[in-house]
Symmetry: C3
Subunit: 271 residues, 3 copies
């Protein structure tokens, strides 16, 4: 436990010093928030999704983030190309399989990405991660996951981690992260986070930044816990005002976060 906290503190120091370039191929719903939260953490985001430049941009990056939130035929090829380029150059790739399980297109794309690109981290809600683990699942939209899917998160995370040789992060009321050997549970966050679109995408964005400066398990724990802490701090200030101010406050808190704030608030249990 002290180990992972210290690793996260080191990650927070590293991100501010190294300012890694993060190449995001992401959805147009939350792209502005993803760019702003990556800037807030100290990374340097670049959004580029045309097939003609996906390889060029990915090869300059410290990490590549692939988010299928509003995937379409044009960008799927770019995701594959950016991912393959990153693999060749040993640049970590982070996948956010938004809505996996909800449509044939999302299922096929997720499977193709997992077949053709080696992921360092996969982050999703329990519906999406169940789908990837091979458990049948029903999804009721990208910002809600059905209650009956909340059991056996650890088993799902371990299955995904072992199946794809990656770190698997399942976010929700309680977050569970596993890389197949290590595992932990995170109890940060507030339920209001589900009333702002893109808190999942932003978590994946943070994860991309950290993945460029530390190893994948630490990156996932640090990103997920930091997002939860930012949610708590913003909710303390803006909870009664409304979800618009709460949303702005999340970016504020990430921009001010450091290893000290992190270690004071992190609620991480090793499993």
């Amino acid at each position: 436990m002290a180990d992972i906290i210290n690793e996260c503190k080191a990650a927070w120091r590293a991100i501010r010093v190294k300012c890694p370039l993060v190449h995001n191929i992401t959805n147009y719903v939350t792209v502005n928030d993803v760019a702003n939260i990556e800037l807030a953490m100290g990374a340097s985001p670049i959004m580029a999704d045309d097939e003609a430049e996906a390889a060029d941009i990915a090869s300059m990056a410290g990490a590549v983030v692939i988010n299928i939130g509003t995937l379409n035929s044009r960008t799927i090829e770019s995701m594959i190309k950016a991912g393959k380029t990153a693999n060749v150059k040993n640049i970590p790739v982070v996948l956010d399989p938004v809505g996996a399980g909800a449509s044939a297109l999302r299922n096929e794309t997720t499977e193709r990405l997992l077949k053709e690109v080696k992921m360092s981290v996969i982050r999703g809600n329990v519906s999406e991660m169940s789908y990837i683990a091979g458990t049948s699942a029903n999804t009721k939209g990208v910002d809600v996951s059905s209650e009956d899917m909340r059991r056996d998160k650890l088993s799902i995370a371990k299955t995904v981690a072992k199946k794809y040789g990656c770190t698997a992060a399942i976010t929700g009321e309680v977050d569970v992260i596993s890389d197949g050997s290590r595992a932990c549970e995170i109890h940060n966050g507030v339920s209001e986070l589900s009333r702002v679109t893109g808190t999942g995408c932003m978590t994946t964005g943070l994860l991309g930044g950290f993945a460029a400066v530390c190893e994948p398990f630490t990156a996932a724990v640090c990103a997920v816990s930091s997002m939860g802490i930012a949610g708590e701090l913003s909710f303390e200030k803006h909870g009664k005002t409304g979800t618009g101010s709460f949303h702005t406050g999340i970016i504020d808190e990430i921009s001010r976060m450091d290893g000290e704030i992190f270690s004071e608030r992190a609620k991480i249990n090793e499993l």
Copy 2:
């Protein structure tokens, strides 16, 4: 008058309880605000615009919102497919004909959508709705409607309602809504709402949420009046600060709104 207010109060209760999934095919300018205002009201938004999944997603939804703000050849087919699927399944479809009248592409797309998809509600400014009614119109951009178009709103709304068997909502300084038999005028709102992009799109987003839990005329009245009230409340707090804070405040107010706040502030005249 008491009737419509009571129906709106019931709609506010229903949306928070039922949390319907709303499928939005919308523009990339204001998509984040549309998702956030739908979450703020209690709905569950999903944005998916690829033709390959338009039918899958629409068939799961409680309502489908089609907004042509940044339409392009790729998404037009998705709009048609989502709309037709919704029609088959008796899922209400809401159209926001952004910029209709401003270009041949928008005109042709609007006409094709209206021919191939049965709409429950069409919401637009007076320029857009005049175009649909068959009155010749000039549009000067999506956030401004020329003054000389402001007359005869009720006649335009009734024409659209009867022509397409739907509820027609014309928003502006005074909003006029008709379903061909009932009609009303709404006097909520502040002029500052026209200095934030997407207040029309957000109104249509709210309309999609309400259309999933009540009948179309009520949904339109409740959405349009709620947006006006949110604008008034936000302007009281942020009017002197500027349009950025005012924008954030609109989401805040919708996230805190309920039937009580609504009925205290609603200014609805039956016609």
Copy 3:
């Protein structure tokens, strides 16, 4: 010096009175902020990027803004078409060559745009403008420019201005603007502006608005200095709160700005 300040004051008066329509073909990362800052300044933005309507929309506009931030094969043709239409009708065209120098696609597109469309103003960071000037450059992402590129800005600006018969604006810690004969340096702004995505795009958006109501050199000076002033004012209020609130505050300050606020804070040195 007094001249340019007076010209800028006149530009601020004109924009509020004339409310020009600005046609933006821009990236999906910062498009909402660009629309909102143009509304905040008093302009009327329209975002339309399909080839089928690019000419229709451009021909109605007071200025056309082309931003290649998330360019793709579909929108490149629209940019060319909008630009050519504007040239025929003597409507000013403003180019933001986001990431020029960072990929073959961006380089080729920038070159094609500059060959086929006559630009009134080009605004970029020093990496992008060096690329256009013909100096070899390395870009480390769209929100950061490498320190070793900061020398000789005036020479780069003059080269671009003469090569393309336009006003060239290089933004950064110190901004340099030249139209080949006149030149000035602007010392407004705070470093925190680089921690919010799209402050460059928003500056270009402001530039589009001003270009519709005054001549290009004045438009560039007024836009760049106004953005810096808005950054200073917002930072005074929100600097300690975080980058989310600082971001919202930038829009607030532009919405409240006028010639008086501008002339009190502008730090412009003629060169």
